[in-house]
Symmetry: C2
Subunit: 193 residues, 2 copies
Amino acid sequence: MTFEVEQKFPVPDHSVLLAKLSALGAIRSEPIEQIDTYYAHPTRDFAKTDEALRIRRAGGDNFLTYKGPKLDVETKTRREIEISLAPGESAAASFGVLLEALGFSPVATVRKIRTLLTAAWRGQSVEVALDDVDGLGTFVELELTADEAEVDAARDAILSLASELGLGGSDHSAERRSYLELLLERATAPEIP
Amino acid sequence: MTFEVEQKFPVPDHSVLLAKLSALGAIRSEPIEQIDTYYAHPTRDFAKTDEALRIRRAGGDNFLTYKGPKLDVETKTRREIEISLAPGESAAASFGVLLEALGFSPVATVRKIRTLLTAAWRGQSVEVALDDVDGLGTFVELELTADEAEVDAARDAILSLASELGLGGSDHSAERRSYLELLLERATAPEIP
């Protein structure tokens, strides 16, 4: 079983982080648009069970991802299963139709521009995502994928890299809510006059 | 929306059919093994709703298929959605794990050797499958995929090709049950001493 160990922080912009990551020798990829459509389970309330199911479209490729409940309060460690689907827009649409036939229903779509960097840190290859999320602003996510036996080491590496990057201070606390949760909270929040 | 129009018949063997199809100019592919694992829905009883969800492994390729309820008593016309998954045994296994995380559970696996032929008939390209099913014996399936507007024409073509092949007579009635249903009935049937 594979686990995703992750921490996320809201940041005012990405320029300071890009400079720090570059000084660490991180390798940067081209920005890519990711369009994630999240689905509700026919009977289980994923908001309560802390699970998620989404179809991700990214540069013509499609993925189906299941995320299990978070296992830890500090990071966002959770079980993750990601499957490649056939590429192309119509394949993603067909998969949506299939999920709806099974009783799943689309909840919301999260669109973002993600710039990925890979940083060597404590012998691990940490994935750093600089995200610009439609309607939510700019964030940084640090992530490692780990087998069950490696989860503690992965968590330590993520926490120390966050500290190295100046993240996680008192004015910079980690955001444990997903982009989906943040978007849904924003959608249902009372208007401030 | 795409519909699958299909008729299936148990046959004592495939040799007579192969000769007739060859005389009609049908094109024959190499036999292929198909391993279909069927899943139960977390809350819907697919045996009652007449739906099906399966992962098909065939020669290294993987497909996820949803079949809706049959729409007609004579043929097995039904809605079908089929999605290509990433190839390889571990991709199929991961998809099974994902379905189980969502509350689906494996019910049974149908293994068969399928020899596919394509027969031009009444201006349509009918897919003819000669199946040798583990535990059930030999069958022939005639199938057309059709849009909603073409379903009646597809059904007429299937029925007339079946008649041309000597199928569907009084000693040769069509089998409307799926291989899965036949296997499950066999598994639960009382022993005849």
